[in-house]
Protein backbone atom coordinates (compact mmCIF):
# COMPACT_ATOMS: atom_id res chain seq x y z
CA UNK A 1 0.00 0.00 0.00
CA UNK A 2 1.12 3.58 -0.56
CA UNK A 3 1.21 4.51 3.12
CA UNK A 4 3.29 1.44 4.00
CA UNK A 5 5.76 2.25 1.26
CA UNK A 6 6.05 5.80 2.51
CA UNK A 7 6.67 4.49 6.00
CA UNK A 8 9.48 2.27 4.80
CA UNK A 9 10.92 5.10 2.85
CA UNK A 10 10.87 7.31 5.91
CA UNK A 11 12.68 4.66 7.97
CA UNK A 12 15.38 4.38 5.31
CA UNK A 13 15.63 8.13 4.95
CA UNK A 14 17.57 8.45 8.22
CA UNK A 15 20.49 6.56 6.82
CA UNK A 16 20.57 8.46 3.62
CA UNK A 17 19.94 11.86 5.08
CA UNK A 18 23.63 12.71 5.57
CA UNK A 19 24.51 11.41 2.12
CA UNK A 20 21.72 13.50 0.63
CA UNK A 21 22.98 16.51 2.47
CA UNK A 22 26.50 15.93 1.16
CA UNK A 23 25.21 15.44 -2.36
CA UNK A 24 23.23 18.64 -2.01
CA UNK A 25 26.32 20.45 -0.93
CA UNK A 26 28.32 19.09 -3.84
CA UNK A 27 25.51 19.98 -6.18
CA UNK A 28 25.48 23.50 -4.81
CA UNK A 29 29.24 23.64 -5.21
CA UNK A 30 29.02 22.34 -8.76
CA UNK A 31 26.34 24.84 -9.55
CA UNK A 32 28.49 27.62 -8.16
CA UNK A 33 31.45 26.31 -10.07
CA UNK A 34 29.36 26.03 -13.18
CA UNK A 35 28.17 29.60 -12.65
CA UNK A 36 31.74 30.80 -12.11
CA UNK A 37 32.86 28.85 -15.08
CA UNK A 38 30.08 30.26 -17.19
CA UNK A 39 31.07 33.73 -16.06
CA UNK A 40 34.64 33.04 -16.92
CA UNK A 41 33.68 31.86 -20.39
CA UNK A 42 31.73 35.04 -20.83
CA UNK A 43 34.57 37.15 -19.66
CA UNK A 44 36.90 35.25 -22.00
CA UNK A 45 34.57 35.88 -24.76
CA UNK A 46 34.37 39.57 -23.82
CA UNK A 47 37.94 40.39 -22.81
CA UNK A 48 40.09 37.35 -23.58
CA UNK A 49 42.13 35.59 -20.98
CA UNK A 50 44.36 37.82 -18.87
CA UNK A 51 46.13 35.14 -16.88
CA UNK A 52 45.52 33.63 -13.52
CA UNK A 53 45.66 35.43 -10.17
CA UNK A 54 45.79 33.85 -6.68
CA UNK A 55 43.24 31.27 -5.45
CA UNK A 56 40.18 33.07 -6.67
CA UNK A 57 38.45 33.08 -10.04
CA UNK A 58 40.04 34.34 -13.14
CA UNK A 59 40.87 38.03 -13.34
CA UNK A 60 41.52 38.45 -17.04
CA UNK A 61 41.57 41.56 -19.14
CA UNK A 62 38.43 43.80 -18.86
CA UNK A 63 36.29 43.19 -15.73
CA UNK A 64 39.25 41.90 -13.77
CA UNK A 65 40.11 43.33 -10.39
CA UNK A 66 43.76 44.30 -10.31
CA UNK A 67 45.75 46.70 -8.31
CA UNK A 68 45.14 49.26 -11.00
CA UNK A 69 41.46 48.59 -11.40
CA UNK A 70 38.95 51.08 -10.12
CA UNK A 71 36.57 50.29 -7.26
CA UNK A 72 33.65 50.04 -9.70
CA UNK A 73 35.53 47.49 -11.78
CA UNK A 74 36.37 45.37 -8.71
CA UNK A 75 32.78 45.61 -7.54
CA UNK A 76 31.56 44.58 -10.95
CA UNK A 77 34.09 41.74 -11.05
CA UNK A 78 33.12 40.22 -7.68
CA UNK A 79 29.49 40.40 -8.50
CA UNK A 80 30.16 37.71 -11.10
CA UNK A 81 32.91 35.66 -9.42
CA UNK A 82 33.18 33.43 -6.36
CA UNK A 83 35.88 33.60 -3.76
CA UNK A 84 36.46 30.01 -2.84
CA UNK A 85 39.29 30.01 -0.33
CA UNK A 86 41.00 33.44 -0.11
CA UNK A 87 40.71 34.92 3.36
CA UNK A 88 41.93 38.46 2.45
CA UNK A 89 38.47 39.86 2.22
CA UNK A 90 38.54 42.22 5.19
CA UNK A 91 39.30 45.86 4.55
CA UNK A 92 42.43 47.20 6.09
CA UNK A 93 45.94 48.33 5.33
CA UNK A 94 47.07 44.73 4.87
CA UNK A 95 44.44 43.94 2.24
CA UNK A 96 45.80 43.83 -1.27
CA UNK A 97 44.29 46.27 -3.70
CA UNK A 98 43.31 43.53 -6.13
CA UNK A 99 41.22 42.04 -3.29
CA UNK A 100 38.99 45.06 -2.86
CA UNK A 101 35.30 44.19 -2.53
CA UNK A 102 36.18 40.52 -2.30
CA UNK A 103 33.35 38.49 -0.63
CA UNK A 104 34.10 36.00 2.16
CA UNK A 105 35.31 32.59 0.91
CA UNK A 106 32.37 30.50 -0.22
CA UNK A 107 34.25 27.23 0.34
CA UNK A 108 34.67 28.03 3.99
CA UNK A 109 30.98 28.90 4.28
CA UNK A 110 30.20 25.59 2.61
CA UNK A 111 32.38 23.71 5.10
CA UNK A 112 30.75 25.60 7.97
CA UNK A 113 27.33 24.61 6.67
CA UNK A 114 28.37 20.98 6.38
CA UNK A 115 29.67 21.01 9.94
CA UNK A 116 26.46 22.67 11.06
CA UNK A 117 24.40 20.12 9.15
CA UNK A 118 26.40 17.25 10.67
CA UNK A 119 25.97 18.61 14.18
CA UNK A 120 22.26 19.11 13.57
CA UNK A 121 22.02 15.59 12.26
CA UNK A 122 23.77 14.19 15.26
CA UNK A 123 21.87 16.23 17.82
CA UNK A 124 18.37 16.75 16.39
CA UNK A 125 18.17 14.05 13.74
CA UNK A 126 16.84 11.31 15.95
CA UNK A 127 14.08 13.35 17.67
CA UNK A 128 13.17 14.87 14.33
CA UNK A 129 12.89 11.44 12.78
CA UNK A 130 10.90 10.23 15.74
CA UNK A 131 8.57 13.17 15.41
CA UNK A 132 8.19 12.56 11.71
CA UNK A 133 7.56 8.87 12.37
CA UNK A 134 4.98 9.63 15.05
CA UNK A 135 3.26 12.08 12.80
CA UNK A 136 3.38 9.53 10.03
CA UNK A 137 1.80 6.89 12.24
CA UNK A 138 -0.84 9.33 13.41
CA UNK A 139 -1.64 10.30 9.87
CA UNK A 140 -1.74 6.64 8.94
CA UNK A 141 -4.05 5.88 11.83
CA UNK A 142 -6.26 8.83 10.93
CA UNK A 143 -6.35 7.66 7.37
CA UNK A 144 -7.28 4.14 8.49
CA UNK A 145 -10.02 5.48 10.71
CA UNK A 146 -11.24 7.73 7.95
CA UNK A 147 -11.32 4.72 5.64
CA UNK A 148 -13.29 2.72 8.20
CA UNK A 149 -15.69 5.61 8.73
CA UNK A 150 -16.07 5.94 5.05
CA UNK A 151 -16.84 2.24 4.75
CA UNK A 152 -19.35 2.47 7.63
CA UNK A 153 -20.94 5.52 6.08
CA UNK A 154 -21.13 3.74 2.76
CA UNK A 155 -22.74 0.72 4.43
CA UNK A 156 -25.18 2.97 6.27
CA UNK A 157 -25.98 4.79 3.08
CA UNK A 158 -26.61 1.49 1.37
CA UNK A 159 -28.84 0.38 4.23
CA UNK A 160 -30.83 3.61 4.12
CA UNK A 161 -31.17 3.35 0.41
CA UNK A 162 -32.51 -0.19 0.76
CA UNK A 163 -34.84 0.95 3.52
CA UNK A 164 -36.08 3.85 1.47
CA UNK A 165 -36.71 1.44 -1.33
CA UNK A 166 -38.79 -0.72 1.05
CA UNK A 167 -40.64 2.22 2.64
CA UNK A 168 -43.15 2.62 -0.16
CA UNK A 169 -44.09 -1.02 -0.03
CA UNK A 170 -44.30 -0.86 3.76
CA UNK A 171 -46.49 2.26 3.67
CA UNK A 172 -48.81 0.64 1.15
CA UNK A 173 -48.98 -2.44 3.33
CA UNK A 174 -49.79 -0.38 6.39
CA UNK A 175 -52.49 1.55 4.56
CA UNK A 176 -54.07 -1.67 3.36
CA UNK A 177 -53.86 -3.16 6.84
CA UNK A 178 -55.42 -0.07 8.41
CA UNK A 179 -58.22 -0.12 5.86
CA UNK A 180 -58.89 -3.75 6.58
CA UNK A 181 -58.87 -3.15 10.33
CA UNK A 182 -61.17 -0.15 9.97
CA UNK A 183 -63.55 -2.19 7.87
CA UNK A 184 -63.53 -5.02 10.40
CA UNK A 185 -64.10 -2.60 13.25
CA UNK A 186 -66.93 -0.95 11.37
CA UNK A 187 -68.58 -4.30 10.80
CA UNK A 188 -68.10 -5.23 14.43
CA UNK A 189 -69.52 -1.91 15.64
CA UNK A 190 -72.56 -2.28 13.41
CA UNK A 191 -73.11 -5.79 14.74
CA UNK A 192 -72.72 -4.62 18.32
CA UNK A 193 -75.11 -1.73 17.70
CA UNK A 194 -77.68 -4.11 16.26
CA UNK A 195 -77.33 -6.44 19.24
CA UNK A 196 -77.58 -3.48 21.62
CA UNK A 197 -80.65 -2.15 19.82
CA UNK A 198 -82.27 -5.56 20.04
CA UNK A 199 -81.43 -5.75 23.75
CA UNK A 200 -82.83 -2.28 24.37
CA UNK A 201 -85.99 -3.20 22.51
CA UNK A 202 -86.42 -6.38 24.55
CA UNK A 203 -85.69 -4.48 27.78
CA UNK A 204 -88.25 -1.86 26.85
CA UNK A 205 -90.85 -4.52 26.11
CA UNK A 206 -90.06 -6.27 29.35
CA UNK A 207 -90.24 -3.01 31.27
CA UNK A 208 -93.55 -2.15 29.66
CA UNK A 209 -94.93 -5.58 30.52
CA UNK A 210 -93.63 -5.35 34.07
CA UNK A 211 -95.02 -1.87 34.46
CA UNK A 212 -98.38 -2.97 33.09
CA UNK A 213 -98.45 -5.85 35.54
CA UNK A 214 -97.46 -3.58 38.40
CA UNK A 215 -100.15 -1.07 37.48
CA UNK A 216 -102.71 -3.83 37.20
CA UNK A 217 -101.74 -5.22 40.60
CA UNK A 218 -101.70 -1.76 42.10
CA UNK A 219 -105.11 -1.04 40.69
CA UNK A 220 -106.40 -4.34 41.98
CA UNK A 221 -104.92 -3.70 45.41
CA UNK A 222 -106.46 -0.23 45.55
CA UNK A 223 -109.83 -1.59 44.51
CA UNK A 224 -109.68 -4.41 47.05
CA UNK A 225 -108.52 -2.11 49.82
CA UNK A 226 -111.25 0.36 49.00
CA UNK A 227 -113.79 -2.45 49.03
CA UNK A 228 -112.45 -3.78 52.32
CA UNK A 229 -112.45 -0.33 53.91
CA UNK A 230 -115.99 0.19 52.78
CA UNK A 231 -117.04 -3.23 54.02
CA UNK A 232 -115.33 -2.65 57.38
CA UNK A 233 -117.04 0.72 57.70
CA UNK A 234 -120.44 -0.68 56.77
CA UNK A 235 -120.05 -3.63 59.13
CA UNK A 236 -118.87 -1.42 61.99
CA UNK A 237 -121.82 0.90 61.49
CA UNK A 238 -124.41 -1.75 61.03
CA UNK A 239 -123.31 -4.52 63.39
CA UNK A 240 -125.88 -4.78 66.14
CA UNK A 241 -125.53 -6.35 69.62
CA UNK A 242 -127.51 -9.23 68.23
CA UNK A 243 -124.92 -9.66 65.49
CA UNK A 244 -122.17 -9.57 68.14
CA UNK A 245 -123.96 -12.30 70.13
CA UNK A 246 -124.33 -14.34 66.99
CA UNK A 247 -120.67 -13.96 66.21
CA UNK A 248 -119.79 -14.96 69.80
CA UNK A 249 -122.00 -18.01 69.53
CA UNK A 250 -120.33 -18.97 66.27
CA UNK A 251 -116.90 -18.48 67.87
CA UNK A 252 -117.85 -20.68 70.81
CA UNK A 253 -119.16 -23.36 68.49
CA UNK A 254 -115.98 -23.34 66.49
CA UNK A 255 -113.93 -23.46 69.68
CA UNK A 256 -115.94 -26.39 70.90
CA UNK A 257 -115.57 -28.04 67.52
CA UNK A 258 -111.83 -27.61 67.67
CA UNK A 259 -111.84 -29.20 71.13
CA UNK A 260 -113.81 -32.17 69.76
CA UNK A 261 -111.42 -32.56 66.83
CA UNK A 262 -108.48 -32.42 69.17
CA UNK A 263 -109.98 -35.10 71.37
CA UNK A 264 -110.93 -37.33 68.46
Amino acid sequence: MRVTTLHKMMRGAGRWWGLGLLLGTLTLGSAAAWAQEGGEHGERAAAGEAGEHGGHGGEHGEGACTAESSDEECLEYWEHHINWWDTDYKKGPEQLREHRHMPPPFGMALINFCIFAFIMYRLAGQPLMESVRTRHLKIKKDLDEAAELRQAAAAKLKEYESRLAAVDAEVNGLINQLRAEAEAEKTQLIAQAEVEAERIRRDAESQIATEMLRIRRELRREVVEAAMATARKVLAENTTPEDQRRLAEQYLRELAGMGSEARS
Binding site: M228, R232, L235, L247, A248, Q250, L252, L255, M258
Partner: protein
Amino acid sequence: MALVGSVARRYAKALLEIGVAHKNAEAMGQELDRLVELFQSSIELADTLRNPVFPLSRRRAVLDEVIKRLAFSPQSMVRNFTLLLLDRGRIASLPDIAREYRGLLDESLGRVRVQVTSATPLDGAVESRLQQALAHQTGKTVILEKSVDPALVGGIVSQIGDVVYDGSVRTQLDNLKQQLLAE
Protein backbone atom coordinates in the same frame (compact mmCIF):
# COMPACT_ATOMS: atom_id res chain seq x y z
CA MET B 1 -80.40 -3.53 82.78
CA ALA B 2 -83.13 -6.07 82.67
CA LEU B 3 -82.29 -9.63 83.54
CA VAL B 4 -82.36 -12.23 80.87
CA GLY B 5 -85.30 -14.66 81.09
CA SER B 6 -83.49 -17.55 82.76
CA VAL B 7 -82.15 -15.41 85.61
CA ALA B 8 -85.53 -13.69 86.11
CA ARG B 9 -87.07 -17.16 86.13
CA ARG B 10 -84.65 -18.32 88.85
CA TYR B 11 -85.49 -15.31 91.05
CA ALA B 12 -89.20 -15.93 90.47
CA LYS B 13 -88.87 -19.61 91.22
CA ALA B 14 -87.03 -18.90 94.48
CA LEU B 15 -89.68 -16.40 95.53
CA LEU B 16 -92.46 -18.84 94.60
CA GLU B 17 -90.89 -21.57 96.72
CA ILE B 18 -90.88 -19.16 99.67
CA GLY B 19 -94.50 -18.20 98.97
CA VAL B 20 -95.58 -21.86 98.75
CA ALA B 21 -93.75 -22.60 101.99
CA HIS B 22 -95.51 -19.73 103.72
CA LYS B 23 -98.78 -20.56 101.96
CA ASN B 24 -99.18 -16.99 100.68
CA ALA B 25 -97.89 -17.37 97.15
CA GLU B 26 -101.07 -15.94 95.69
CA ALA B 27 -100.91 -12.87 97.93
CA MET B 28 -97.25 -12.38 97.11
CA GLY B 29 -98.12 -12.51 93.42
CA GLN B 30 -100.75 -9.83 93.89
CA GLU B 31 -98.31 -7.67 95.83
CA LEU B 32 -95.73 -8.08 93.09
CA ASP B 33 -98.31 -7.06 90.51
CA ARG B 34 -99.21 -3.93 92.51
CA LEU B 35 -95.58 -3.02 92.86
CA VAL B 36 -94.93 -3.51 89.15
CA GLU B 37 -98.02 -1.50 88.32
CA LEU B 38 -96.69 1.31 90.50
CA PHE B 39 -93.26 1.14 88.86
CA GLN B 40 -94.78 1.27 85.38
CA SER B 41 -97.07 4.15 86.28
CA SER B 42 -94.31 6.21 87.91
CA ILE B 43 -91.31 6.54 85.67
CA GLU B 44 -89.66 8.91 88.18
CA LEU B 45 -89.80 6.26 90.88
CA ALA B 46 -88.29 3.60 88.65
CA ASP B 47 -85.55 5.98 87.46
CA THR B 48 -84.73 7.03 91.02
CA LEU B 49 -84.37 3.44 92.19
CA ARG B 50 -82.21 2.54 89.20
CA ASN B 51 -80.00 5.63 89.30
CA PRO B 52 -76.63 4.85 90.99
CA VAL B 53 -76.01 8.57 91.53
CA PHE B 54 -78.25 8.36 94.55
CA PRO B 55 -76.73 6.53 97.54
CA LEU B 56 -78.04 3.03 98.06
CA SER B 57 -79.21 3.85 101.57
CA ARG B 58 -81.39 6.67 100.21
CA ARG B 59 -82.86 4.45 97.52
CA ARG B 60 -83.53 1.72 100.10
CA ALA B 61 -85.32 4.24 102.26
CA VAL B 62 -87.47 5.40 99.34
CA LEU B 63 -88.38 1.82 98.34
CA ASP B 64 -89.16 0.90 101.93
CA GLU B 65 -91.45 3.89 102.28
CA VAL B 66 -93.26 3.03 99.05
CA ILE B 67 -93.79 -0.54 100.18
CA LYS B 68 -95.14 0.67 103.51
CA ARG B 69 -97.65 2.89 101.77
CA LEU B 70 -98.77 -0.05 99.62
CA ALA B 71 -99.74 -1.70 102.92
CA PHE B 72 -98.40 -5.15 102.20
CA SER B 73 -99.18 -7.91 104.69
CA PRO B 74 -96.84 -8.03 107.71
CA GLN B 75 -95.68 -11.52 106.71
CA SER B 76 -95.00 -10.55 103.10
CA MET B 77 -91.61 -11.49 101.73
CA VAL B 78 -92.02 -9.11 98.81
CA ARG B 79 -90.55 -6.23 100.77
CA ASN B 80 -87.39 -8.12 101.60
CA PHE B 81 -87.21 -9.50 98.07
CA THR B 82 -87.43 -6.09 96.39
CA LEU B 83 -84.85 -4.66 98.81
CA LEU B 84 -82.57 -7.58 97.89
CA LEU B 85 -83.03 -6.79 94.20
CA LEU B 86 -82.19 -3.16 94.93
CA ASP B 87 -79.03 -4.15 96.80
CA ARG B 88 -77.92 -6.31 93.89
CA GLY B 89 -78.70 -3.62 91.31
CA ARG B 90 -81.48 -5.66 89.66
CA ILE B 91 -84.55 -3.71 90.64
CA ALA B 92 -85.13 -2.83 86.99
CA SER B 93 -85.90 -6.48 86.32
CA LEU B 94 -88.81 -6.56 88.72
CA PRO B 95 -91.49 -6.62 85.93
CA ASP B 96 -89.80 -9.61 84.29
CA ILE B 97 -89.56 -11.44 87.61
CA ALA B 98 -93.23 -10.67 88.36
CA ARG B 99 -94.27 -12.03 84.99
CA GLU B 100 -92.26 -15.20 85.49
CA TYR B 101 -93.64 -15.52 89.01
CA ARG B 102 -97.18 -15.29 87.71
CA GLY B 103 -96.51 -17.94 85.09
CA LEU B 104 -94.87 -20.29 87.60
CA LEU B 105 -97.67 -19.75 90.10
CA ASP B 106 -100.35 -20.45 87.49
CA GLU B 107 -98.46 -23.51 86.38
CA SER B 108 -98.18 -24.78 89.92
CA LEU B 109 -101.89 -24.20 90.53
CA GLY B 110 -102.98 -25.68 87.19
CA ARG B 111 -104.18 -22.36 85.81
CA VAL B 112 -103.80 -20.70 82.46
CA ARG B 113 -104.24 -17.03 81.58
CA VAL B 114 -106.07 -16.28 78.37
CA GLN B 115 -106.10 -12.83 76.76
CA VAL B 116 -109.58 -12.36 75.37
CA THR B 117 -110.23 -9.43 73.05
CA SER B 118 -113.68 -8.57 71.72
CA ALA B 119 -115.20 -5.75 69.69
CA THR B 120 -117.75 -5.03 72.39
CA PRO B 121 -117.80 -6.02 76.10
CA LEU B 122 -118.80 -9.64 76.58
CA ASP B 123 -121.88 -10.35 78.61
CA GLY B 124 -121.61 -12.69 81.59
CA ALA B 125 -123.14 -15.72 79.89
CA VAL B 126 -120.83 -15.57 76.89
CA GLU B 127 -117.85 -15.00 79.19
CA SER B 128 -118.77 -18.00 81.30
CA ARG B 129 -119.26 -20.23 78.29
CA LEU B 130 -115.99 -19.01 76.79
CA GLN B 131 -114.17 -19.78 80.03
CA GLN B 132 -115.63 -23.27 80.08
CA ALA B 133 -114.79 -23.85 76.43
CA LEU B 134 -111.23 -22.74 76.94
CA ALA B 135 -110.91 -24.83 80.10
CA HIS B 136 -112.22 -27.75 78.10
CA GLN B 137 -109.71 -26.93 75.38
CA THR B 138 -106.66 -26.58 77.68
CA GLY B 139 -107.62 -28.90 80.50
CA LYS B 140 -106.74 -26.18 83.03
CA THR B 141 -108.48 -23.55 85.09
CA VAL B 142 -108.81 -20.52 82.87
CA ILE B 143 -108.32 -16.95 84.00
CA LEU B 144 -109.65 -14.52 81.43
CA GLU B 145 -107.80 -11.26 80.90
CA LYS B 146 -110.39 -9.28 78.96
CA SER B 147 -109.95 -6.26 76.73
CA VAL B 148 -112.09 -4.45 74.16
CA ASP B 149 -110.86 -3.47 70.69
CA PRO B 150 -113.50 -1.95 68.37
CA ALA B 151 -111.10 -2.46 65.44
CA LEU B 152 -112.10 -6.12 65.50
CA VAL B 153 -115.52 -5.00 64.15
CA GLY B 154 -117.07 -8.16 65.57
CA GLY B 155 -116.20 -11.56 67.04
CA ILE B 156 -113.67 -12.68 69.67
CA VAL B 157 -109.89 -13.33 69.76
CA SER B 158 -108.39 -15.56 72.43
CA GLN B 159 -104.67 -15.99 73.04
CA ILE B 160 -103.14 -18.68 75.24
CA GLY B 161 -99.40 -18.26 75.26
CA ASP B 162 -98.37 -18.43 71.62
CA VAL B 163 -101.67 -19.94 70.44
CA VAL B 164 -104.31 -17.59 69.05
CA TYR B 165 -107.96 -18.47 68.35
CA ASP B 166 -109.09 -15.67 66.07
CA GLY B 167 -112.82 -15.35 65.32
CA SER B 168 -112.82 -11.60 64.58
CA VAL B 169 -114.49 -10.00 61.58
CA ARG B 170 -111.33 -7.96 60.97
CA THR B 171 -109.30 -11.12 60.40
CA GLN B 172 -111.99 -12.56 58.13
CA LEU B 173 -111.91 -9.37 56.09
CA ASP B 174 -108.13 -9.52 55.95
CA ASN B 175 -108.26 -13.12 54.75
CA LEU B 176 -110.79 -12.18 52.10
CA LYS B 177 -108.56 -9.31 51.01
CA GLN B 178 -105.55 -11.59 50.68
CA GLN B 179 -107.59 -14.04 48.60
CA LEU B 180 -108.74 -11.28 46.29
CA LEU B 181 -105.23 -9.93 45.87
CA ALA B 182 -103.81 -13.37 45.26
CA GLU B 183 -106.16 -14.14 42.40
